[in-house]
């Protein structure tokens, strides 16, 4: 998203760096903090991380505790109120407590699964882009093949058959989620490795490791950071979807997706059981998208305002 000051610069030079801004990559954080949407995203992420870490201190209940007074006399869940801020679920457990502990699940899977996917994607992309030839061809054909898979179907299938635990869910998500990164990194690496400075380095006798780690990877870093941030959003959504279908993280371990899965039969009478965890999923995914998009604008000015 371009701000008005940038827009004028865009028209004049076709370049999105507005006058007076420091060169890219210097002071990324301070430039991030000048964007209201990025601040909103960072705030949501910090609140979620804080909630996940300090969950036991923020609530008086335990996430698995089925409370005697957590259900009405007819056995219905309690609506949001003074005692239970966000109400209780079908088993009389405090919803706020489960959402706080569920943040742990979302964040762990978001970071682990996305980390693995990023590593696989970068390895595949760099290898294919650097060693074009037959290794590159095979790797990129395989990537094309993975693009043709209906990703969610594959993930559901794997998760349903392997009895899912937190780590298996993370693995499954990583396995279907590395493809985009691989393609982007591949394109960048193959154009980078054709540039003169790499040619020069090679002619001076630099070995492959030196070229890869000192020259290629540092240039890829902005891309990796941007895709890493945007990827967490995809991962959080995928985990929630798998858990909602009942093949993700298994109850009683709370996850925002499986809270909805467990309670959806009752959602017409107790809609808060769907909407609070749903809002949490939306907020966290939105936060990483906002920060990722801002990072893209800052780190890669040529992409301003594009997808």
């Amino acid at each position: 998203m371009s701000t008005p000051s940038q827009t004028s610069a865009v028209i004049a030079t076709g370049d999105a760096i507005s006058p007076g801004t420091p060169p890219a990559r210097r002071g990324v954080v301070s430039r991030l903090l000048r964007r209201p949407l990025a601040i909103l995203g960072i705030a949501i992420i910090l609140i979620t991380v804080g909630g996940a870490i300090f969950a036991p201190y923020l609530t008086a209940y335990s996430p698995d505790e089925q409370m005697f007074d957590g259900l009405s006399l007819e056995g219905a869940p309690m609506p949001p109120g003074e005692k239970f801020l966000l109400g209780t679920d079908l088993l009389g457990r405090d919803l706020l407590t489960r959402i706080l502990f569920g943040a742990r699940t979302s964040l762990i899977i978001g970071i682990v699964a996305n980390g693995i996917a990023l590593v696989i994607g970068t390895l595949v992309g760099v290898t294919a882009g650097f060693y074009r030839g037959w290794i590159g061809t095979i790797l990129m054909r395989f990537t094309d093949l993975m693009m043709a898979f209906p990703a969610l179907l594959l993930a559901i299938c794997l998760a349903a058959i392997l009895s899912p635990s937190l780590w298996i869910v993370a693995m499954v998500i990583a396995l279907v989620n590395w493809v985009q990164t691989a393609r982007v990194i591949y394109t960048e690496t193959s154009s980078l490795s054709r540039r003169e400075f790499i040619e020069a380095e090679r002619s001076m006798g630099a070995g492959t490791p030196r070229i890869l780690f000192r020259h290629i990877l540092p240039h890829l870093l902005p891309t990796i950071i941007v895709w890493g941030t945007l990827g967490i959003s995809t991962t959080v959504l995928l985990e929630a979807t798998l858990s909602y279908l009942g093949v993700g993280v298994q109850p009683p371990t709370p996850s925002w997706g499986n809270i909805i899965f467990e309670n959806q039969t009752y959602f017409q009478a107790a809609p808060w059981l769907v909407f609070f965890p749903g809002a949490a999923i939306l907020a966290l995914a939105l936060a990483f998208n906002l920060v990722g998009d801002a990072l893209r604008d800052i780190l890669d000015p040529t992409q301003t305002g594009r997808m």
């Binding site: 043709a148 209906p150 594959l154 909805i260 998208n289």
Partner: protein
């Protein structure tokens, strides 16, 4: 052009072959035993062995996969383990409902996305622009099952404007299409905005303005057609997104399409159905991408196929 199409078709076939091999191998390797599902818990080991032999599941992997491929080239997807029906028939019976849902979703995402993108581009830099772009981020960040349940609660349970799930009339179609389309609307509004902003910067727009055309004539007669075409050409690429989305959306709304079929088959380890739906989806995704690539040079003659 013809040579390009031919090469892409061959590539697509190879990709589909690869998808079939990987899916088949995964289902072979994974610790799910369809025979146990069919025979039930109380079956004797003898019965289990008989069923395994009947289905050919005691054969080595290569033989099983070879047989499957041989059937596939004759248009035979095999028989469902549990429903005793041809998988081809099951898919054919469910496909129209899914296609209907996808067409509905395309209409929703185009109407919503293009309008949002157009307005944002025209009001660039204003609060309206910012608000619309935040809206587009919300669209791509919203989990589809939550959107579905929210729409159901507001428009079906509370307002009773639409039925609570099910399939049949036009009013059944509205909420599921909207749910499936909102994600795409988020992407389209961003693409439309940047496409429109690009076009508005071109010289021919300045010329049109300079010769005294009204603003609305410039926008709707000159800018919009040029900005909208490359965005619409992306529809082919949406197929992948839809194929993932229908599993969730059909399950929320009880929509009898291939997403439901696949979901039920996965729960019962009905391998022929899982294979069939995966292949049909992959086929749709590959064709969609091919179509998107073929349409592009007609829309933008600067791009050449190679």
């Amino acid at each position: 052009m013809l040579a390009y199409v031919a090469r892409r078709l061959v590539q697509s076939l190879l990709i589909l072959l690869g998808v079939s091999l990987i899916t088949f191998a995964l289902l072979y390797v994974l610790p799910a035993d369809p025979v146990r599902q069919i025979a039930g818990r109380s079956a004797t080991p003898q019965t289990v062995e008989n069923i395994r032999h009947q289905l050919g599941l005691d054969q080595p992997f290569i033989v099983q996969y070879g047989r499957y491929l041989l059937g596939l080239v004759q248009g035979d997807f095999g028989r469902s383990y549990l429903q005793r029906t041809e998988v081809g028939e099951l898919i054919a019976a469910r496909l129209p409902a899914s296609l209907e849902l996808m067409v509905g979703a395309i209409v929703c995402e185009l109407i919503l996305g293009l309008t949002m993108g157009l307005v944002a581009a025209l009001k660039r830099g204003t609060a309206t622009d910012q608000a619309l772009m935040v809206g587009s981020f919300v669209g791509v960040s919203a989990p589809q099952f939550v959107v579905g349940l929210l729409l159901l609660y507001v428009f079906a349970v509370r307002l009773s404007w639409f039925p609570i799930g099910g399939y049949g009339s036009f009013s059944h179609l509205v909420l599921p299409s909207l749910t499936l389309g909102i994600l795409g609307a988020g992407w389209y509004s961003r693409m439309m905005r940047s496409s429109m902003v690009d076009v508005l910067r071109q010289d021919f727009i300045r010329t049109a303005r300079a010769k005294g055309l009204r603003r609305s004539a410039v926008i709707f007669g000159h800018a919009l057609p040029n900005a909208v075409l490359p965005v619409i050409a992306m529809i082919g690429i949406d197929i992948g997104m839809f194929m993932s989305g229908i599993v969730v959306v059909e399950s929320v709304f009880g929509w009898p399409g291939i997403g439901q079929l696949a979901w039920q088959a996965i729960q019962r380890v009905d391998i022929p159905i899982i294979m069939g739906v995966t292949l049909v989806s992959a086929c749709a995704i590959v064709l969609g991408n091919l179509l998107a690539d073929l349409v592009t040079p007609f829309i933008d003659p600067r791009i050449k196929l190679q």
